[in-house]
Subunit: 137 residues, 2 copies
Amino acid sequence: METIEQILESKNIRVTAMRMLIYKFLVEKEVAVTLSDIENAFEKADRTTLYRTIKTFEEKDIVHQIDDGTGITKYALCEKDCNCEIETDLHLHFHCTNCNKTICLTENKIPKITVPDGFISENVNLVVKGICDKCSG
Amino acid sequence: METIEQILESKNIRVTAMRMLIYKFLVEKEVAVTLSDIENAFEKADRTTLYRTIKTFEEKDIVHQIDDGTGITKYALCEKDCNCEIETDLHLHFHCTNCNKTICLTENKIPKITVPDGFISENVNLVVKGICDKCSG
DNA sequence: ATAATAATTGCACTTCCATTGCATTGATTT
DNA sequence: AAATCAATGCAATGGAAGTGCAATTATTAT
């Protein structure tokens, strides 16, 4: 079992108290979070710090950004073996229009998408909107 | 050949000079446009008017909104036989990271997406990012 | 045709999220 | 311990989306 310190260090992220707290927060959340969500969880910390922390995480590939169409960027921890940058590993996201939660459906891989001649596909983003399991039950 | 007036009327949109101009602009563009694009094309008109016009078009289903992940909402005319609201008719969008253009690939329908039990899919948004035919050539 | 009514447009303003500059604090290295 | 570099906090900015209200224009009814 890796500690948070080890995880951060393995990704060349300098370990600070703040970063460890935010990482922990992301682990505990099972859904994608907005910057405001993080902000509300750490009211003592400055918005900018949180913003830059998440951006650092993103750069170092331990967090990926999700654009679920709500207009607000959300973030979620990558899976252990996630290679966000690799096209074939892309999973889809589900946005519940009822509870406004966005969930990474890591089990559901995106089917192969064909694009017309001349187009070069580098990245695929797929968001399904609807009602999640908790809200539909 | 339908005139713009006829198209608008058939969708229960009251015909005004402004609306005809914006419709014409959208027809001539082959890519999805942002509000700023429209704004730049009609500098004499007020932003709000353009905004509300495009919202009206959207409501009346002659324009659909595209969220290509750039953070800025884009709009494009629906195809003649487009039924944006019908899930099975959804097409995908291609966003070129080089020229920043977003193109409707109306020929490429989105494959059926399966979601886990309990989830109800109502809408699917799929954006492929990469290099478009003009930029890759 | 004209008055009454309703929809559209323009202006001003607000809100919200994302982002940056700069000073300060804190951690690392020499 | 001094020097260096990264991280944090504060303040401010920018951009896009959206709203209220007054003025204008179109539509309907008299």
